[in-house]
C-alpha cells in the first residue's frame, strides 16, 4: 500500500463487483475476460459488451499501462477539495481497457500522455482499495 494525500472513498459494491473489490484489498487488480471472444471487459460486468456472452472469467491483470489522457485538478469539491492539485487520468492497461484513475507518486506537472505507469493500491479501510497508478521507476520522481 502506498500512502496518498488523496482521500480514499469507499466504492459502492454489488454482487457483480464484490469480487473485484475484494481482490483490490489483497493488492490485486483482476479483470474480467470473455470466454467466448477473449476480449477483456471494462468496466467489470458479467456480460460481454462485444459479443453478448455471459461466460466470463476473472484473470490477474498485469497492473501495467500508459497514460492515455490526464488532467491536473486545481479546484475541486467534497472530500477532494483540500487535495488539489491532483491528477485524474485514463490509463490504458496493457490488457487493453482505458480506465479512470489517479496518477500518484510524482509531481502532477510531470505527468504526460504515454507515460508508463504501474498500479498501486490505497486502502479504503473497508475491505477494498483504490487502484491508482504511479510512474514506473526511472520515470517518475
Amino acid at each position: 500500500m502506498t500512502a496518498s494525500l488523496l482521500p480514499n472513498p469507499v466504492p459502492e459494491q454489488n454482487p457483480e463487483t464484490e469480487e473485484f473489490w475484494r481482490a483490490t484489498a489483497e493488492g490485486r487488480l483482476i479483470l474480467l475476460r470473455c470466454e467466448e471472444c477473449g476480449v477483456v471487459i471494462w468496466y467489470p460486468r458479467p456480460l460481454c459488451p462485444d459479443c453478448g456472452s455471459t461466460t466470463v472469467v476473472w484473470i490477474e491483470g498485469s497492473g501495467l499501462g500508459t497514460v492515455y489522457s490526464f488532467s491536473v485538478v486545481h479546484r475541486s469539491a467534497g472530500s477532494y477539495q483540500s487535495a488539489v492539485p491532483y491528477v485524474v487520468a485514463y490509463v490504458e492497461l496493457t490488457e487493453g481497457p482505458r480506465v479512470l484513475t489517479n496518477i500518484v507518486g510524482c509531481d502532477p506537472d510531470r505527468v504526460y500522455i504515454g507515460q508508463p505507469v504501474r498500479v498501486t493500491f490505497c486502502d479504503t479501510g473497508d475491505r477494498s482499495a483504490l487502484y491508482r497508478f504511479e510512474p514506473v521507476a526511472a520515470d517518475g520522481q
Partner: protein, 386 residues
Amino acid sequence: MTIKGHVCIAGAYEHPRRLIPDRSVPQIHAEVALGAVADAGLSLSDVDAYFCDSTAGFGPVSMVEYLGLHPRYIDSTETGGSSYLVHVGHAAAAIEAGRCEIALVTMAGLARSRGEAPIARPTGSPESSFETLWGMLPVTAYALAAQRHMFEFGTTSAQLAEIKVAASLHAQHNPLALLPEPVTVEEVLESPLISSPLHRLDCCVITDGGGAVVVVSPEVARDLERRTVKILGRAEAVKHTNNGRIDLTYTGAATTGPLAFAEAGLRPADIDYVSIYDSFTITVLETLEDLGFCEKGEGGRFVLDGALVAPDGRLPFNTDGGGLCNNHPSNRGGMTKIIEAVRQLRGESHLAVQVPDCEIALAHGTGGSIGTRMGSATLILGREDT
C-alpha cells in the same frame, strides 16, 4: 419536400431570468409553457402531447397534472442536457405517426440559486463505482478530452479561447446574458486553471431558468399566424466508452450529424447558423469537427479569425451568447440551443448578430459528458419559406 419536412416548431420561449430563487421548478416549467404556447398563438388546452426530462418530480406524470394537461402522447427520454433536442425529434416522429398534433416540450431548473453542482454523477449507475472515486469533476472529464485532442492534433488553449471570445461578443448584445462583457483570448488564458488544460473561462455559466418549445403538425402550422420553423432532419445517439476503448477525440455528433444531414438532404456547407452545445469550449470544438464543418483535428484552426462570430463569420454560432456567457439553465443547455436557432430562422435574433438571409440552421445537444458517455442529438431546421 416530404410531409416529414413540414413538422414545425411553432412556439419558443426562454425564461428571461438567470437567478430565480422566488420560484419552484414546476412554476418555472409553467411559466415557460405558457410563454411558448402563447408565442405559437395557442393555449395550454390545445396541447395533446407533452415532453419533459426526469428532474421535475415524477417527470411528465407530475408536470402533466401541474399544468392541467390531458395529453395522448408523453415522453420523458433522459439524455441530460440534450434531452430537449431528442424530445423535439420524438415529437416530430409522433406527429408524423398521427399520434398527436401539438406537442409541448418544457425544461426548468434552479441550479444557480440552489448551488447545484453540474452533473451530480448518479450513484447506482452500473459504472459509477468505477468512476466516482477519483475526484473527477464535470470539468475534469472535459479536460481529459481537451488534453487528448491537444496531444493528437496540436490544438491549443488559445484556439479553445477563441470559442469563448466569440460567445462573449454575441452576449454583449443580449441584455439578459449572465456574462455580457466581451473577453479576449488573453483574458481566457489568464483566468484560473480549474482542471488543466481548461480555465475558468472555458466553462459555461450556471443559471436558474428554463425554456419551452411547441412542435406542431403541418396542418396546425398552416393555420397559425406566427412564423414557424420546419424540422428538416433529426438524429440521436449514445456515444459511450465502448468496452474500455473510449476515444476522447470525438463525440456522439459524429453519429448524429451524418444521420441528420442525410435526412434533411443537406450538407454542412448549407448551414447558415449553428447552435452548438457549449458546456465547455472543447465541447464546441469537437462537435464542429464531428458534424463535418471541418476535418477531424482541424477544429482549432477552424475557429480562428472570427469564424464563429455573427453576422459575418464563416459559421456564426450561439448568437445569444450560448451557455458560455448567456444561459445554461439547470446545467442543461439543449433547450436554449433550439430557441436561438428558432430566433435566427424567424429573423428575430438581436440585430447585431442576426445572420442575413438565414435559411437553414443546425442545433446540437450533448448530455452527460464527452469524457465518459453522452446522449447526443442534432436538429436541422429550416425557415418557413424554404
